[in-house]
């Protein structure tokens, strides 16, 4: 028998295990059980070591599948390790899946039920319904809810935000935000001072430096071309900020988009007629630091209405992108001028999102 290892070394080894193994190892002893189920420091340590994965929402059928991000760093075209995840509601009842934070996803059930779900531990929590405070009368057109989840370092809590957009004929677009705390299991609380802006691509929360980021245009303005803004909402203080965007090529093509790659905000153009350009804001909040990262030129057999969304930037400079054509998602990689497709099997997908396996429980108040 091996000599007894010091506790801190055992913890280091355990923090490098997949969640499934750790869940089993809760049976090893009472101290293992406590460490894996309850210890917040261990959960954080594990999260920082944990490898990233890609989650897919199948279409049709709405099954949820996942595979490890590392399978895209190989040169083999065929991706092998896709596994089906157990969801809190039946696949067919899933309406959509939003971006995750620390392994926790917001998923929306058909008929507007919202869950916070950890696919690795299979734990989930149904959130109270988020009320609409306005009357849907003639002249008011709802554009629906989206949800976003984030960690609030001030209160060591996870917050879910509901974003409701509606068009008030005569007054323009209006936005209403509410927040919900996972720890206190509160009712939805109104986010004060959030202006009436049209948030684009609300499904994507672009979490960075403790804030969500979106591209927006002022709801009231009807100028052509519209004045684009980069807006942010700080998670802890719920403070709204905005920055105007410079007139780079992706903004003049009408549809600038935002993503986060390697801890930096990036801008890109949604549709591309000539090329797909990716720009990086090197210094957070400083528009003057905007630099072009790369350009993917138009390729000949590219179907109409194809658009690209960057997903992940690997260490070696290879970039992983979603290619969406007619609502169908494909994943490609791009490096040194070569666009490589990946084969994700026979299914077709409507969503693909990067996530991390963690032990974080949606039941924070337990």
């Amino acid at each position: 028998m091996a000599a007894k290892l010091p506790c801190d070394i055992i913890i280091e080894i355990l923090s490098r295990l997949p969640v499934r193994s750790l869940i089993r190892f809760k049976c090893v002893s009472k101290s293992f059980h406590y460490l894996i189920s309850k210890d917040p420091n261990f959960k954080k340590k594990h999260m920082n070591q944990s490898a990233k994965s890609v989650l897919y929402l199948e279409s049709p059928g709405n099954r949820v599948l996942s595979n490890s991000l590392s399978s895209f760093s190989n040169d083999e075209e065929r991706i092998q390790d896709l596994k089906i995840l157990v969801t809190p509601v039946k696949g067919s009842e899933i309406w959509t899946i939003y971006d995750s934070c620390d392994g926790l996803f917001c998923i929306e059930e058909r008929g507007r039920g919202v869950f916070v779900w950890n696919p690795s531990t299979k734990e989930s929590k149904k959130l109270p319904d988020c009320p609409i405070d306005i009357k849907i009368v003639p002249g008011i057109h709802s554009r629906g809810f989206t949800y976003a989840i984030a960690y609030d370092s001030i209160s060591d809590d996870y917050k879910v935000f509901s974003i409701f957009l509606f068009l008030d004929i005569g007054k323009g677009l209006r936005t209403k935000l509410k927040s919900y705390s996972l720890k206190s299991d509160s009712l939805w609380r109104k986010v004060e001072n959030f202006p009436s802006v049209d948030l684009w691509n609300r499904e994507k929360s672009n979490l960075l430096n403790g804030a969500f980021h979106w591209i927006a245009i002022h709801g009231k303005d009807n100028k052509e071309p519209p004045p684009f803004l980069l807006v942010s909402l700080e998670i802890g203080t719920e403070t709204y900020r905005e920055l105007s965007l410079p007139w780079i090529s992706c903004c003049t093509q009408r549809f600038p988009q935002l993503c986060v790659l390697k801890g930096k905000l990036c801008l890109y153009n949604l549709f591309f007629s000539k090329s797909f350009d990716l720009w990086v804001i090197e210094e957070y909040g400083v528009m003057e630091s905007l630099t072009k990262m790369f350009t993917i030129p138009f390729y000949e057999d590219q179907p109409q209405s194809t658009y690209f969304t960057p997903m992940y930037l690997f260490e070696d400079g290879k970039i992983m992108l979603k290619v969406i054509t007619g609502g169908r998602v494909q994943v490609v990689t791009y490096k040194d001028g070569i666009l490589a497709s990946t084969n994700l099997g026979n299914s077709s997908y409507q969503k693909a999102r990067i996530w991390t396996e963690t032990l974080i429980s949606p039941h924070l108040n337990n």
Partner: protein, 163 residues
């Protein structure tokens, strides 16, 4: 390597293991042991350093690891080739008995060699990820303090993870 560097006198250190075996190592190797690097930087390094927690068998392996890493990093090869070379070496190096791995991990922690600690922790994690509860208890020398009923309840609650 140029002739001028060959002529410079190389500083060597003598490392003494728990069981009294003395190893002669060059400075480039010794500094990879963070504990020794700190001594050198603080100008407290004696040429003779006793390492009370490491046996000669393990210290020999640790020095082999540090030597290879020092040589690969200082060689004229490009970063990508050096990277590949280290990966191959690390894989081979980890191909040892499990008890040796545990001791290497412990030694890397004590001597504060971050890359070796990371390597051994990752290797051990991938070794144990599919092991049974009994095997894990044995490996970490952990006593089962659950009652039969308690253990059964935990197993039942997380039955999916055992499939």
């Amino acid at each position: 390597m140029s002739s001028s560097t060959e002529l410079t006198e190389k500083k060597v250190f003598l490392l003494k293991s728990l069981d009294g075996v003395i190893f002669e190592v060059e400075e480039s190797v010794a500094v990879q042991l963070e504990v020794i690097r700190e001594l050198i930087e603080g100008d407290c390094a004696r040429p003779f350093i006793s390492l009370y927690n490491v046996t000669s068998e393990i210290l020999a392996l640790v020095i082999e690891y540090c030597k290879h890493h020092a040589e690969t990093c200082s060689g004229g090869t490009s970063a990508t080739i050096a990277d590949e070379d280290l990966k191959t070496f690390d894989n081979e190096f980890m191909n040892v008995d499990e008890n040796i791995l545990l001791e290497l991990c412990s030694a890397a922690d004590y001597l504060d060699i971050k890359s070796l600690f990371e390597l051994t922790c990752r290797t051990l994690a991938s070794l144990i990820k599919d092991r049974t509860i009994i095997e894990v208890r044995k490996m970490f020398n952990v006593e089962n303090d659950f009652s039969v009923v308690e253990e059964k309840a935990v197993r039942k609650e997380f039955a999916w993870a055992f499939k």
